[in-house]
Each structure stands twice: as structure tokens, then as C-alpha cells.
């Protein structure tokens, strides 16, 4: 156990990106990270099945990416920062992703914010 993380398990609603999570999500995160490359981005837009095949994604991973199931993706082991790449490609903003993690609609989430227009 990493002594720096002692007590972190008692913080609710939190997924800590440690080596175990990183290993579980490696294939999925590699795929998402690939979206920083224009060629892979284009393939994903035009022919997602081939893009998924090349990334070796499982059926469950494909479903989550296809459906933009943000809460499931982050629970599964996606790094938020890799999900951000998917968000940009699909035109989904960070507040929309955060709302999904919280189980809220964007409108509900924005009501909890100081300046809802700042996005």
C-alpha cells in the first residue's frame, strides 16, 4: 500500500488512477490516446469498427466508447485525460463529462456552478 494514499479509500465517488487501474485500462487508454493523431481520428470518425479492431478493443470497451458512456468508462479504468481526447473528437465538453460522472444532466450540473456560461 502506497503510504501517500492512506485513507484515500474512504473518499467516496473517487477513482484513483494507480498502477492497477492503469494496467486494466491500458488498451482502452491507448486507443483514446491515439485520437491525438489526425489519421487515427479520421479513421475513428469514418469507420469506428475498423478503428476498434486495430485497437483490439473488447465488446464492452467498444460499447462504452460508441455510446459515450462516460460514467462507465471512468469506472472501468479510462484516464480522464484520455477521455478528454474522445470528448474533443465528439464535441463533448468537460462540463458535460463531469455531469455524466455525477449522474446529472448538463443543466443540473450547471445550476451548481458559479458562472454557467464559462465553458
Amino acid at each position: 500500500m502506497n503510504p501517500q494514499l492512506k485513507g484515500v479509500e474512504s473518499i467516496e465517488g473517487t477513482y484513483l488512477f494507480d498502477l492497477e487501474r492503469s494496467a486494466k485500462g491500458l488498451r482502452l487508454n491507448r486507443f483514446l490516446h491515439g485520437l491525438t493523431e489526425p489519421d487515427k481520428r479520421a479513421l475513428f470518425r469514418e469507420d469506428p469498427s475498423t478503428a476498434f479492431d486495430r485497437g483490439g478493443l473488447t465488446q464492452e470497451e467498444r460499447r462504452m466508447v460508441r455510446e459515450l458512456d462516460w460514467a462507465a468508462l471512468i469506472r472501468y479504468g479510462a484516464s480522464f485525460f484520455c477521455l478528454e481526447k474522445l470528448g474533443r473528437v465528439k464535441g463533448v465538453s468537460n462540463p458535460e463529462m463531469v455531469a455524466a460522472f455525477r449522474g446529472e444532466t448538463l443543466e443540473q450540473f450547471l445550476k451548481t456552478r458559479n458562472v454557467p456560461g464559462a465553458r
Binding site: N2, P3, Q4, L5, K6, G7, V8, I11, E12, G13, T14, Y15, L16, F17, D18, L19, S22, L26, N29, R30, H33, L35, T36, E37, P38, R41, I74, R75, S79, F80, F81, C82, E84, K85, L86, G87, R88, V89, N94, P95, M97, V98, A99, F101, R102, G103, F109, T112, R113, N114, V115, P116, G117, A118, R119
Partner: protein, 295 residues
Amino acid sequence: MATILGGIGTSHVPTIAMAYDRNKAGDPDWAPLFRGYAPVAHWVAEKKPDVLVVFYNDHATTFFFDHYSTFALGASAAYPIADEGLGPRPVPPLKGHVALARHMAESLVNDEFDLSVFQELPIDHGCHSPLTMFWPPAPDWPGCIVPIAINVLQHPLPTPLRCYKLGRAVRRAVLSYPEDLKVVVVGTGGLSHQMNGARAGYNNTEWDMKFLDLIARDPAPLTRMTHADYIRLGGTEGAEEIMWLAMRGSLSEGATKLHQSYYLPMTAAMAVALFEEPEAALQSEAESRRTSDTA
């Protein structure tokens, strides 16, 4: 000899770059952010640093988890702006100070900071989203950088104390550089925010204010906290504040905070704080004496 004029702690939220790139200074939702950075931009324009040493983190953009360095120093003459999914930002490539970077790498490794060295890799918003607010490329960047990437994504992260000590070692490295160079050290990240799980959207302004106070006045307690403490108080991504500790470690104890600004419009608390070294303050006094003599 190289001197350190001061330091800047700043958030690196991607929307800071968006607000700059889309020229939102007149938009009431963003105007407070621009106002907060204006005194920092003014100070930097007046001091004209040759080099910014920037402690930042990459966001699984350039570096990936198949090989994730704890500390990585950039040592090339140029760094492309990274493509984070939308194509690169419309700003010029960052310029690197090769000689200082090589000297720093040698100094740091001989000082037992065995960091990785990278060259010509793209740099993401963790470094340049705040830079444009106080060091705008008009049209090109006003000087060079030495980027130092810190792992704040994949635990185990370097401890808060280790980051502070890295800052001390960076100070020794910069001050032992033989040529005259004016250096400002930047630490990016934070403040409170969390980007995963049902706790996403968590903020803690009370803690943020305490952090902004302690980082200036008494950073030692911040170096004794664990990552779990940072996460509990400031969210999982609030732990990025350890990069401010690296910046603070590179300054002298006598550095004073000249300015701070805090704005929490959406998900992440956006803060900037400016620290000045006594040497830079003396330089300003000499400058103003010269100006008044001329007048």
C-alpha cells in the same frame, strides 16, 4: 551568472487557453480571469525574463502510460504545440533554451535527481494554457522555456516533499549557470478540482485560500501533507498543487507574494500567484531611481 527573479503559480485549465485564443477578455464570464492575470503580465513584461523554467504536467498527450516518467526535463530548441484532439492551438512552437537545459540536466542528475530528458516532443496545455495570459506570443514567444514535466496522473506520484526538493535542486542548477540569464520559475496546476467519479466537480475554496497563504508564507506544512490529504481537501486533480511546491522550492525563503487572483467559474478553481525575489525588487528600485534621475 543566471538569476531567479521570481516565480509564478498558476492553474492550467484548458479553458484559460480557449478564453485567450477566442479573445474573451470582454466577455463578462471571462473578464475576471483576464483581470487576474494582468498584473502578472505587467510584471513579466517589465522584468523581461530570458527563460521560464516551467514545472507542468502532460495530460497523457505526449507521454503515455506505457512509459510514464516521474520527472522529465526538455532539452531541445523547440517544442511543437501538442494536438489534444482538436489540432494544435494557434500559437507558435515553444522555444527551448538548450544550453541552460543541458546544464540543468547535468546539475540535477549530479544532485541525485535522476530525471528523464526529452527532446522535440509536443507540449500540451499543462504548460502553455496559462503562459499566453502573462507571456503572450506577439507574434512569437518573448523568450525560451525549460519544461520539466511531473507525473501527477498515475500514482505513485512523487511526494510533495520530493517536488519541493526538486525545486531546491532546480534553484542550485539555475544559479550555477555561468552566463547572465534572467529566469522566472513557473509551477502550474490546481487548485481544487476533481475530474472523475460522483465526486467530480468538487471544489473547496476555503482550502484553496489556505493553500495560497501557506505556499507564500510557510510551505513546510504543505510538504508534510500526503497525496491523500491533497485529494481529500482539493479533489483528485487538486493534487496537481505539488507542482506549485516545486516552483516555491526554487525560490528563496524571502520571496514575497506580490499578487494573487482566484476565479472559480465552473469545474476547476483558477488561481494565479506572483512571487518576487528580493534581487528582483532591488532591480526594480534601481530602475525607478534611474527613471526618476532622467526625469
